[in-house]
């Protein structure tokens, strides 16, 4: 359990209240001038922002604005994509993720990912969760590790009596929580969620959203969602990406990044306003 630091008490200053911003913790990621391309196509251009610890950060924006490209850069998931190139830096606790000598496998161990469609292995529930720890040689007390991960993903009570049954026997929502359990079984620091609920029904969606609130106590979460209301419900901070068209072609740019309530009540940029109010395009 991480110690909680309390801000010192001070008298309420009514005049200063509107200036006060919630305190942000340590920056886990510092993204500086990130441009990512696939061949000749620039997917995102010159993106700069910081992602903070134990905070849920949502990335929203229209189709094709590069939001998935952006979070896939955060754990080098784009490395294997043909023609992928990037400029700029992604610092993870001050270390350049794409720097020399950085092992992408180690990056993905610390920065886990959950995808849009639940993709459990066609194995037992237990083996799905135990797979990554086994691969990484974390075989000691494996049962405890699996149980802890399933608890963490709020799935334990539903599956504890059928751990040896196929993961494919679970419902879609349960499968997605199993994928979250699989991701947290190796105790990463960051969880990247790429549209984690878009294939789920509303009840399964709300259980994933509730789970995210639990998870942020121990993890830093970044979620890509096309569902603006989902971003408004779950995220502490929201980044709005948009597609900019100029002579050089089309590319995703970061338009605005702020506290979620600010983005949804009084955004600073007209493009954000137009997108969140549905007047886009």
């Amino acid at each position: 359990m991480r110690p909680v630091t309390m801000a010192p008490m001070r008298p309420v200053d009514v005049a200063a209240r509107e200036e006060a911003q919630p305190e942000l913790g340590e920056a886990v990621f510092e993204i500086q001038g990130l441009t990512a391309s696939y061949g000749a196509n620039v997917a995102i251009r010159d993106v700069g922002l910081e992602i903070y610890r134990n905070v849920i950060t949502a990335v929203i924006g229209p189709s094709g604005c590069g939001k998935s490209t952006f979070i896939r850069c955060l754990n080098r998931m784009n490395d294997e994509v043909a023609g992928f190139r990037h400029e700029g830096r992604i610092l993870y606790h001050g270390i350049d993720l794409y720097g020399d000598g950085v092992d992408p496998v180690e990056v993905r161990r610390r920065i886990g990912m959950v995808f849009q469609k639940p993709n459990p292995f066609p194995k037992t529930i237990y083996d799905n969760v135990a797979w990554a720890p086994r691969v990484l040689g974390l075989k000691k007390e494996l049962d405890e590790r699996v149980e802890k991960a399933l608890h963490g993903a709020a799935l334990w009570d539903e599956v504890k009596d059928r751990l040896k049954r196929s993961a494919l026997s679970l419902s879609g929502g349960q499968q997605q929580r199993l994928c979250i359990a699989r991701a947290i079984a190796i105790e990463p620091e960051v969880l990247l969620l790429d549209e984690p609920a878009s294939a789920l029904d509303p009840i399964a969606t709300s259980s994933i959203e509730e789970l995210m609130q639990e998870l942020k106590r121990d993890y830093t979460l970044v979620i890509v969602t096309h569902n603006m209301q989902q971003a408004a419900r779950v995220a502490d901070r929201t980044a709005f990406f948009s597609l900019e068209v100029d002579d050089g072609g089309r590319a995703g740019v970061l338009v605005e990044y702020d506290e979620t309530p600010k983005i949804f009540t009084a955004p600073s940029d007209k493009r954000t306003e137009d997108y969140v109010t549905g007047r886009f395009g």
Binding site: Q229, T265, P267, T277
Partner: protein, 225 residues
């Protein structure tokens, strides 16, 4: 573009402006009835409140439905919230007009004091102007006009103070006592209508700036926000 949503928002705003114009009519009616001691008109003002309440309810019921179905955000959200509050302020103003009409009925057989009556008429004119400015500032999204309501309100407050000074002079006159007491309430009621107009202006400022602030602070009147 969310056409259906925009149409619903426009309809709500139009209903609010219609409600505002009915409030202007009922205030004019209440003040005319007071001046002329016109009992027929007082009854009309009282009955007219039902029409205003109908519009009030229509807006009041439209908003939860819009919020639930369309989940407005950003400017749209602020607009819906401003409509919700302004609706309440307008309905309250209309209730105050009913109060003026009822007080008028109670003392219709007394010859009014001309000085006091003139002050009340002035106050009524100013309240009417304030409602008009408030509604126009909303329709035109005009922050400066919304903020000017504070100055207009100061004029009503000044008339109200002058009214009280005159009341102190004549309250001892037998035969005038009940009329004067009723008219103190009328004066106070018009003054409150002005306050609600200022509150409407505050909602306009919220819509335009995304910051809610009270134009004047009742406990620190010397400090304007």
């Amino acid at each position: 573009m969310r056409t259906t949503f925009q149409t619903e928002l426009d309809q709500l705003e139009a209903a609010l402006q219609e409600e505002g114009s009915l409030v202007l009519r009922t205030l004019r009616g209440a003040m005319n009835a007071l001046r002329r001691r016109d009992l027929e008109l007082t009854d009309e003002v009282i009955a007219f409140d039902d029409d205003i309440d109908r519009l009030y309810l229509q807006i009041e019921e439209g908003i939860p439905s819009l919020l639930a179905r369309q989940t407005p955000v950003a400017t749209d959200l602020r607009l819906v919230l401003a409509i919700l509050h302004i609706n309440l302020h307008l309905e309250r103003m209309a209730d105050y007009c009913v109060t003026i009409a009822k007080l008028t009925k109670l003392v219709a057989d007394v010859e009014p004091d001309p000085t006091l009556l003139q002050t009340l008429e002035e106050m009524g004119d100013r309240a009417e102007e304030m409602i008009r400015v408030a509604l126009d500032s909303f329709a035109n999204r005009d922050l400066a006009a919304a903020e000017s309501l504070v100055d207009l309100d100061e004029l009503i407050d000044r008339s109200n103070r002058r009214f009280v000074e005159r009341v102190v002079e004549i309250v001892a006159e037998p035969g005038m006592r009940e009329w004067v007491l009723r008219m103190v309430l009328v004066s106070r009621t018009i003054e409150r209508i002005g306050d609600h107009a200022v509150d409407v202006g505050e909602q306009v400022a919220y819509l335009l700036t995304a910051e809610f602030r009270e134009f004047t602070d009742a406990s620190h009147p010397e400090h304007r926000a």
